[in-house]
Each structure stands twice: as C-alpha cells, then as structure tokens.
Symmetry: C2
C-alpha cells in the first residue's frame, strides 16, 4: 500500500521534528515555511531564543534517535534560583532526585532538526506564506516572492504556530469550538552577557527568577556564557510597560527592583527600547483534525503561556503520540489515528494551558513566599520517603510522560494533602524524620485513594 | 460641527434599529446587507421566525418612538405552559404582576424597522456581502452581483451577526480576546398550523414547553393562529438528530415523547426532514470597538443561545445605551463614547450569555420538577409580599433594564435565600401567609445586605 503524502505547514520546532519522524517511517514529506531559511540567516533577536526541554521533549527526540545529539547543546538547570533583592539568592531543586530541565537554543535546535529531516529526504520550501486553506479540497494558497502559488495536499498538517492558517480555516466550519485570549502581561527580552573569560556570571545550572508579585524577570543560561533574560510585565497600570517609558524610568525602576541584575546587564537600556514588547496568547480549540484530510499540532492546536516551560514539550509530545498511533494502527488507518489523536491530545492541551497560566502566579509571586517554599521542601521530603508513591505535580509535568490532564486532576488532591502536612506543627521546619513517616503515610493513603480515580 | 457618517454592516434587527436611531439624531447612514431585500422576497422558512420581546427590547423601541406600532403586531405571553405528556398542562406565570414577554415575527419587525429607517433617509444596499474589512483604513470589500465593490467608511458599525466580518478582522489584531463555542444541541423548526377558523389550537398567551430533560420542544404563538415550534435536540447520542433518522423513527419518537403535540402537527414529518438542523453558537469577545473607527453590536459582539429569549433584547439594549452615550457626551466625543460603550456592554454581554446557557437546563429539565415549581411559586410570593424589595433573576432580566451582570451577581444570593425558604416546613405548600412574613423578612435582610455590594 502506498503511504499518504505528507504536507506540513511550518518548519518550526514541531513541524521539523514531525517531518523527520514521518520521513523515518518512509513517508514522503514536504514542509512549507513562511520565513526564509533560518540556516542562511541570522536569527532575529528579541524573541524567546532559548527554551527549557524536559522529559516529554526528550522522549520525542529519543523516538527520533537524536536525544544524545541535542543533549550536547543543552545546559541542565537543576532548580530555580530566587533573587530577592539585597539578600542572598535561594536555590530550590525542581525534582527530588536532582532531575533537571535543559536550556537549549531554539535556533540551534530548529536548524539541526531541519538538517536531519532534509538529509533524510524531506523537502523544505521557504518564503511560502500560507494565505488560505480550503480544508475540503486541501488546496493551499501561498504567497511567495514570485507571486501566488497553489499546492494540493494529501494529508495536510498544520504545525504553523499560534496564528495557524489551517486552524483559521477550521474556525469557519460549523460547530468549531475556538478560544484565544491574552494575559494582561507582555514580555521583553533582555540579556546578561558572558564574563571576561566567557564564563557564566551567575549560577549556570539554574533558572533564575526575580519574583516581584505582579511581574518578574527570569534568566536562562546559554552555552556561550550569556543568559537570556525575560521581563514579564503588565501592559497597563503601575508599574507597567505603559508607565515605565523613559530611559530614566527604566534605569530607576531596575535599580530599585532588580539591584543585583543591573550590573550584569550593561545593555539594559538598549535592550529595553530596541526589543519588541510581545504579547502572550492562549489558544484552545476542538477538534484538532478535519475528516481524514488534515490535523493541527503544536502551538497551532494549543498555544500556551510559557510559565511551565511546556510549549515545545507539549508539541513534541503531540508528535510522539501521533507516531505511536501510526505505528500501532498502521499507515492506512487514518480515520482511527486522527480520532484517537484528537481524543488523547485535546484534553491534555487544555490541561497544560491551565497549568501554565497557574504557574505564572507561582513563579512571579509564590516562590518568594516562605510558606510556599516550605511546601515545596515538604513535597520533596514526601517524595524522598515514598519515591514510588508521591510525585509533585511539577515532577509529573516536567519529569514524566504521564498525561497533563492527570497531573491537573492530582493538583487538588495534593493541595489537600499538603494542607494537612503544613498545618501540623511537627513539620514546621520543612523536614520529615523517619519516625514521623507513619503520620504522612496515613494521609498519603487518602491521597492515593483520591487520585486512583483519575486516568494516568 | 459636521456629524460623522455612519456605515452599518447588516440590515438585521439590530442594524436596522440602529440605523433608525442614528437617522433620528441627524446622522447620515448607509446600511450594507449580505442578503437581498427581504421586503421583496418571501422570508426563508425554517430559521427562528419569531422572537420574544421583553422590557429591554421595548425600551429601545420606545426610544425610537415606535413601541406602540410594534405592540400591535405582537402577542403577549404571560407565562410558560408545561406539557408533560398525558397529564394536564401546567401554567406558570413569568412575573408576579402578570408581566408578559411578547411573541413577535422577526420578519415583520425587521421589515418595519427598515421601512421606518428608509423613510427617514437611511440608504440600504442589499446583496452586498462583506468579504473583508481593513480596520485601520476602514476600507470594506464587498462582493456583489456586479463583482467586487469597495467602500471607505467613516464610523463603521458591525451589526453583521454571529459570524461578523468586522469582528473577524478584530480577532486578527494583537491582544484580541475571542471565543466561539457550540452547545451539544442543535435545533429544528416545526409548526402547529391554525385551527379551522384561524384560531390558536393551544393557549395563545403562553410560551409552550415540552421539557424532556436533555431535550425539549417549545412553541410560540403567531398572529395568524399558528405556532412556531422548535425542537432542541442533541446532535449525538440516544435520542438525537443522529439516532432519529427515518420517518418511522420520527413518528414513533414524537408519539412516545410528545403525544399531545403530534395531532397538532400534521406536517411533522415534512418539517423534520425539510427544515435544516441548525447549530447554537455562543460568541464572546473583547473589546467591542477599534480606536475611534469602528464598533460591533448585537450578535456580532455577543451571539448567545436563545434560552433566555434575550438575543434581540440584548442587541436592542446595546443600541439604546450607545444612543444614550451619544446624547450625553455629544456627537464629537467618540473616544469617550466608544470606551464607555465597551465598559458598559462587554461585561453585560458575558453575563447574559452565561444566564442563557444556564436557562437551557431550566427550560428543558427543571420546569418539570415539582420542587423547582415550588421555588418559582415561593419567589412570586416573596415578590408579592415585598414588591419593592425582591425581584427574581428572571424578572430582572426580562422585566427591567437593570444590568444583566447585576442579575447574574444576584443569582447566588437568591439561591441561598430560596434554599432557606424551601427547607422550612412552613412553606411546604409553596404559599406564604401574612403572619409568616417576618420569617421571610429576616432572611430577606441578609439577601439585601449581600446584593447591596453589586452594581445595578
């Protein structure tokens, strides 16, 4: 049986990985990308140039056999380092076993995925902006430097990001559910350059956070010794992008709020005024496929805010799940594959989008709260004492391939469990002795009973 | 000062009334409508041909000075008449003072609004389908029978319905919040013709409901003695549009579920198979204006499900509020007018869309529940005893111009109040004696304190 021809919109991370995975299964794949070939151009600055890869991302790369290669260009971050102002920073491990999330360059990763796909025979067409898709005929209209170009796809896949043209066509069909909304914050990229000898000027193995309740700065390490920083800041109100307008405003504001960061950012003012202020969209929609003709994947299906570091990870997981369905059902069972893909992924997309919104509050506010830090410490203690029986929601999301919806379902049960632990004076110092284990075990049984009802 | 020229997309109910209201204020108004002139054509059957006008609708018509004229073509419905099958029907008043909602023909109302607007000098352009709006330049591209036509608007108003082209242009701008979703039910229009002498065959002064938990039929009276009926039915499951497919299925299903309706519907099978199954969309978006250039109104801004009978009423209220803002601030204060319009209406649009979704459950299920009927009876008793101090949420929505958001805010407080009343054995029979008044008054004070925090 002849395999269907695959046409992918978008040569971003998800589109490129997906192309590679299809190619590895013997499919003929064409990828159309709006931008020009990033391998021939300098990456545009000011737009999220590094990412945090965690287990879901690695699992998909492992499926493609390229995990090792990508590990070589990533930097492990073992925890959060919290900058409170003039007091010493606090370090907080992400996992109970020193599991890391990995800072990796978006551009470098994307280029390598394209190289690998192209080497396998995938054809890339750059400077093809998708203007319209007729989802009934799968005819695609591109605008190119040489005018309009039309392509007819067999199986069409929209990996074309948060503003997907394929999804826009879906939204015009009867009974299509669609939602886009923006948080009140925008973001702006800033930069901490390497030290005089190319060294990292702050702890390299951490994701740095300057939490300031309603806003924050974060920093992720790059391989060249620099850190990419991001200011998440409200558009309106005081302080906000709207209220901090002049060079003097910015300088004064940063010196007051981020005194330890200012000396590390010699180009602060240039970065602030030259880099764009970008918005943060959440997109939810359903279904993620149309008949047996097309599907959407990655940000096109579930653009989320970046606060759980799961955008790329969720998109890569979409790819892995889709491949598993093809491997299980066979190359000719697209009715079954697409229905299952939809059933398995829509709900998880919704779950991670909720979790990501919630994590913004955790990052910008709660991580500076001693009671929250005690909870995090006690969660790790419980995980250490009962390694097979307790994983925090953060650990499930970042260090497992369990369903996002399962992690979300467990959240409330964990909140109840931890409320008991936190209220008990025995655990005031955030530690649990061996002899106190039975108290915890008792509560843990209630927790386990509660979560046993949820689907992993 | 020269008044701005008004360009309205859509000559439906809201577009036509709005045109009239602007014209009455000395504005030059042009209206572009996708369809041909309904005054020259037979109205297309099978799509919601009558509506329930309540106080908000009347208030807007009163502002236009045409309330009396429209009353003459409407039929008061004083309450719901519940058809349970083989037992006698039950009648339930909508208001404590026999207030009515009014069944009115969509086509007749629309034609008269157009007539009045045109007589005043409004220009209508039919067969103009809006293909695209450039909201920065206000250039509109229409397709017409004579090819493409371009118009440049001064102040552009989208009254172009649930699938508004102007709103679609809004959704493509950064930071635009937008949501569309469909309930699991669709609807299909059916018909009860007049009796042999043109008389109504069931109570003319009622909105008839055949509640069947997960689905229902309703019927609204028409002036010619007929009733327009609507079946609200799930798309999938059993029973559903998907499961009831053959003529035999339909006949058997209706005879079992709606035995008293079948003899009234001689064309049941033809109607069922000839009339389309239509979907029920909810649209929420924000903001409802763009710079000082355009705004959206009516279904374009807040398509809602029809279960509170508020779609047209909410749209007409938009028109009244917009006119009040113009009258208050002056014809040249469009920055203030549009900001206030947005602030006042977005929240109310969201409130009525929630209330309408909730009322579906009330109509199709709760109205058949004796305990719910007792609550409704007791609400009227409390309203009768304390006429200035208690109005049910239904009364606020249908018989007042109080904000929808206020009615929604009061819902939970009323739920708490009524829980106390329902739980007290004194009021088991659904009646309240004069001597029991102090018990109620005591609880009512708690209720009043709670709702005093809300904005009316």
């Amino acid at each position: 049986m002849k395999k269907r021809e695959i046409t992918i919109l978008g040569a971003g991370l998800v589109g490129s990985l997906l192309a590679l995975l299809f190619e590895q299964r013997g499919y003929q794949v064409k990828v159309y990308e709006r931008r020009s070939d990033m391998r021939k151009n300098k990456l545009s600055a000011g737009r999220s140039i590094n990412l945090a890869m965690s287990v879901r991302g690695w699992s998909a790369l492992e499926m493609a056999g390229i995990k090792k290669e990508m590990e070589d260009i990533s930097i492990p971050m073992l925890g959060r380092e919290i900058h409170m102002g003039n007091e010493p920073t606090k370090f907080q491990y992400y996992g109970k076993n020193e599991e890391a999330i990995y800072s990796i360059s978006r551009g470098e990763l994307n280029k390598r995925l394209m190289e690998l796909a192209e080497k396998g025979g995938v054809e890339f067409f750059f400077d093809h902006k998708c203007e319209e898709v007729n989802i009934d005929t799968n005819e695609i209209t591109f605008s190119t430097q040489n005018g309009e170009s039309k392509v007819k796809a067999d199986l069409l896949i929209g990996g074309d990001g948060a503003f997907s043209a394929l999804r826009t066509a879906y939204t015009k069909k009867d009974r299509y559910n669609y939602e886009q909304f923006y948080v009140e914050h925008g973001y702006k990229e800033l930069n901490i350059p390497p030290g005089p000898n190319g060294e990292h000027l702050i702890n390299k193995e951490a994701l740095h956070i300057w939490p300031r309740k309603n806003y924050m700065v974060i920093a992720l390490p790059n391989q060249d010794g620099s850190f990419t920083c991001t200011l998440f800041f409200p558009y309106e109100g005081t302080p906000s992008f709207n209220s901090i307008k002049t060079k003097e405003d910015v300088q004064a504001f940063f010196e007051e709020q981020f005194p330890d960061a200012v000396p590390l950012m010699p180009a602060l003012l240039d970065d602030y005024f030259e880099n764009p202020t970008a918005s943060l969209v959440t997109v939810r929609c359903s279904p993620w496929y149309y008949e047996e003709k097309s599907l959407i994947i990655g940000d096109a299906a579930h653009a989320i805010v970046p606060f759980y570091g799961q955008g790329m990870n969720a998109g890569f997981e979409d790819c892995r799940i889709l491949m598993e369905l093809i491997d299980r059902h066979g190359d000719d069972k697209w009715d079954i594959i697409l229905k299952h893909y939809n059933t398995l992924r829509v709900e998880n997309g919704r779950a991670i989008s909720d979790l990501a919104l919630k994590n913004f509050i955790e990052m910008r506010d709660l991580v500076a709260d001693p009671e929250f830090l005690r909870r995090k410490k006690l969660e790790k203690e419980i995980g250490r004492l009962f390694p097979d029986r307790f994983n925090s929601v953060y650990e499930m999301v970042s260090f497992s391939n369990k369903q996002y919806s399962y992690a979300q379902d467990c959240q409330k049960a964990q909140d109840r469990l931890m409320a008991k632990v936190l209220a008990d004076p025995t655990f005031q110092n955030g530690e649990i002795d061996e002899k106190e284990k039975p108290i915890i075990e008792n509560w843990l049984r209630d927790y386990e009973e509660e979560v046993s009802a949820f689907t992993q």
